[in-house]
């Protein structure tokens, strides 16, 4: 699970995240929406520990991220919108590198790495240099590497940019499958149709504040006359 309590972050005069409170239970796929610069990425970076909050508390998989940062991070997987991948390693070598980094045993890595590549349809490209892979294939490698150590919380920033329909379907199915098995997924996206389709709950953030949160039905009920998420989103974030 993810629990955020009164998170605040300033960048100079800019109040990037303002008293953010949120709880996402285990086995839920939460979609985090908001216009550009609303504070989505900063919130995610605070959850990963890459950015320190000015005030507030972050609990990830029942671990206080401030008190036990290393333990908390070991339970988290993070996939940014444009992740860098070592171009002169092969997918298999990249997975072995990730396994060592996450201190997985050698036997565990040797068993899981080929399996993850198989799940993502990358077995025949396991020994091709990453620089020779397409964007979609690289994304698959990144998902394989992130999920290999079986994190309890997955944070995904814009997962569908530049992907073909096959890859989008694969990742949607994968996120649903892992959520069913108890993983907590927090995903940001600008594609509202996808949020409507796969999100268990949806949160809308604007100017660092959570302005709406709930299931699609709850959001529709709370805002009469707005039957589509797009209308609601524009209404809440247009100033």
């Amino acid at each position: 699970m993810i629990r955020l309590e009164n998170l605040n972050k300033h960048y100079g005069q800019l109040h990037a995240v303002n008293e953010l409170c949120l709880e996402v239970p285990s086995g839920e796929l939460f979609c985090f929406l908001g216009p550009n610069g609303a504070g989505k990425t900063t919130s995610i970076k605070m959850m990963t520990g890459l950015v320190k909050p000015d005030t507030g508390r972050i609990i990830l998989a029942d671990i206080d991220a401030a008190k036990e940062p290393v333990k908390a991070r070991s339970q988290v997987g993070y996939i940014p919108d444009m992740p860098f991948i070592y171009e002169r390693l092969t997918p298999m070598e990249f997975l072995l590198f990730t396994g060592d980094l996450y201190q997985m045993s050698r036997e565990d890595v040797r068993e899981k790495a080929p399996r993850m590549l198989e799940i993502f349809g990358m077995t025949d490209r396991a020994h091709t240099l990453n620089r020779d892979l397409s964007h979609g294939m690289r994304q698959r490698v990144i998902y394989a590497a992130t999920l290999m150590h079986e994190p309890k919380v997955l944070l995904v920033d814009e997962p569908f940019i530049g992907l073909d329909p096959h890859s989008i379907r694969l990742i949607k199915d994968l996120l649903r499958e892992h959520t069913r098995r108890g993983m907590t997924v927090l995903m940001t996206t600008h594609i509202l149709a996808i949020a409507e389709e796969i999100g268990d709950r949806i949160g809308i953030i604007d100017h660092g504040e959570l302005v709406a949160c709930g299931t699609l039905d709850e959001l529709n009920t709370a805002t009469p006359g707005m039957n589509r998420l797009e209308d609601l989103f524009l209404e809440l974030t247009l100033h």
């Binding site: 990963t48 950015v51 290393v70 991070r73 070592y86 990730t98 201190q103 620089r131």
Partner: protein
């Protein structure tokens, strides 16, 4: 040719803008580069001047030695230019993102080749003028030439550098196109190259056997002199051309200038013709063929996985960094060129007869060698170690979340850099000492010095790299050109001076037989303590500051 001309003009505009924007660069960087260039030109000119003065004071022998010195100097320069041309040409013709981008534009393939060829020639040769100008300048100054004559002599350099650089590009193009990639065929190619080298060496030996007595003596002293004096070598045309002007024979000099210029014309016409035929296929082969390379290169990966014990972040970074290093020609060629040239020089110390010199001289040469080795280690640590943390910032999405701290990541980088630098430094220093047969005390100091230099350089570059860590997709060149990169370069050079100079002076005084208040063993021990202390301070303090900076900043 219209597209090629446009592209070259565009590059010239970029260069113009870069010159205009010098004032926006960090002041420290501009001052450092400016003073370094002036000091370099002044000190090299002085050294060459002293050399010519020494030779001409020998009397008649100078008229025999100076022309040979010229041929040897330009041969060495010519080989370095060829190497530089080959490396730069490979990068410009096949590796730069610009080539891939231009392939999608309406630029004819022939124009793309011309443009890349001109760019490679310019990029690979401009720095050599910083060696040629002091050499010719010192000679002209010694012979009291007027400015016009000096400029006239310098004119020779332009076709010479173009010729050598063009030959390097030609060689590279032929190798990339025709050397087979398969292991067996590659091995056969390598054996053929060895045979060709052996045959060439035999031919040179045959030439040596037919020489007059004076030349035989000189050839035994100076390896490569015979090859350098061969009349069909461009370096020989260059040397004879300049000396003809010096000896008031401008007609003969002019003929050599025309010979050089026409050779350049023929070579570039040939390159243009050859390029338009083989470049498109070779480029395609490079663009689509890296999968083959990846499969071929999987054995180092398997070996490293088996050799590195346990499972830790140190192992992860060790394997990853070694694999990326051996698969990136721009990285390993720089290592190979710098340390390979030093190794070649150290291995030849015996054949130069330096081991038979007076111990005072061999000891002095040993410390000068250690200084040059440390200076190369310093520049390579600035190039490779300093940008490491900034480059890793791109992987924070994964590395930052691993159950390890960024401080630990920094220490991993430091350990790997120390191991690599220690290995290279101690091996080459041992090679130099063995060839020079240095005395026991100097040997102990050397064994203490090289690991200490490696520790200090690795610690300083890693620590400062963490303190001045830059986020975002930046290239190593962009990271190095900032304030932190410049500061690191200055501090590492100062550290090398502090570490090598004092032990060098003490060792030199001991060999000279100077009397100390303490026994020689105690002096050696104190010097070792000095080395270790300076090293611990220079490497340890930046590491601590870097560790602290990493724990305090946001990403």
């Amino acid at each position: 040719m219209r597209a090629a001309t446009l592209l070259i003009r565009n590059h010239l505009f970029e260069l113009q803008s870069a010159v205009r924007l010098v004032h926006e660069q960090p002041k420290l960087k501009v001052i450092l580069i400016g003073s370094f260039s002036i000091c370099w030109l002044a000190s090299l000119s002085w050294l060459f001047y002293e050399g010519f003065d020494f030779l001409y004071r020998l009397g008649g022998a100078a008229f025999f030695l100076v022309p040979r010195l010229f041929t040897l100097f330009f041969m060495g320069l010519g080989f370095m230019l060829m190497l530089s041309g080959a490396v730069t040409g490979y990068a410009n013709l096949f590796q730069t993102p610009e080539v891939r981008r231009l392939l999608t534009w309406p630029v004819p393939m022939r124009d793309l080749f011309y443009y890349s060829l001109v760019k490679s020639t310019l990029m690979s040769s401009w720095a050599f003028f910083f060696i040629i100008i002091p050499f010719i300048g010192a000679f002209g100054f010694y012979r009291e030439w007027n400015l016009l004559m000096l400029l006239w002599s310098l004119l020779f350099s332009i076709p010479f550098v173009m010729l050598c650089s063009g030959l390097g590009v030609l060689l590279m193009l032929l190798v990339v196109r025709f050397v087979p990639r398969g292991r067996t065929l590659g091995l056969l190619g390598f054996l053929a190259l060895l045979y060709a080298t052996y045959s060439a060496a035999g031919y040179v030996r045959e030439l040596q056997a037919n020489q007059n007595e004076d030349m035989m003596v000189l050839v035994n002293f100076v390896p490569g002199l015979q090859l350098a004096s061969y009349p069909l070598m461009p370096n020989s045309w260059m040397a004879q051309g300049i000396l003809s002007f010096a000896n008031n024979d401008p007609l003969r000099g002019g003929i050599f200038l025309v010979l050089l210029a026409s050779s350049v014309g023929v070579l570039f016409l040939f390159l243009a013709r050859l390029g338009s035929v083989i470049y498109p296929q070779t480029l395609q082969r490079q663009l689509v063929g890296s999968n083959v390379l990846a499969r071929q290169a999987s054995w180092p990966s398997r070996t490293l996985q088996a050799v590195f014990p346990g499972h830790s972040s140190l192992r992860a970074y060790g394997i990853k960094d070694v694999l990326i290093f051996i698969r990136d020609p721009s990285q390993w060629t720089q290592f190979l060129i710098f340390f390979g040239l030093l190794a070649l020089y150290f291995l030849n110390l015996g054949s130069l007869g330096y081991n038979d010199l007076d111990p005072v001289w061999s000891n002095l040469i040993a410390f000068l060698n250690m200084f040059s080795l440390s200076a190369v280690m310093s520049s390579l640590s600035a190039r490779f170690v300093f940008p490491q943390m900034s480059l890793e910032s791109r992987t924070l999405w994964m590395v930052g979340l691993a159950p390890t701290s960024l401080g630990r990541l920094m220490l991993n980088k430091f350990f790997l850099a120390t191991i690599a630098l220690t290995f290279v430094g101690t091996s080459l220093a041992a090679m130099s000492n063995a060839m020079l047969e240095v005395e026991h005390a100097s040997l102990i100091l050397s064994r203490c010095l090289m690991p200490s230099v490696a520790f200090a350089l690795a610690g300083m570059s890693t620590g400062l790299g963490a303190m001045f860590m830059e986020l975002g997709p930046k290239t190593p060149a962009q990271i190095l050109s900032g304030y932190g990169g410049t500061l690191n370069l200055i501090l590492t050079l100062l550290t090398v001076i502090l570490l090598v100079l004092i032990p060098g002076i003490i060792s030199h005084m001991m060999v000279l037989g100077a009397t100390f208040a303490l026994p020689e063993g105690v002096i050696t021990l104190f010097t070792c303590i000095y080395i270790v202390s300076i090293s611990a301070f220079a490497g340890g303090v930046p590491l601590m500051l870097g560790y602290r900076a990493l724990s305090q900043r946001d990403f």
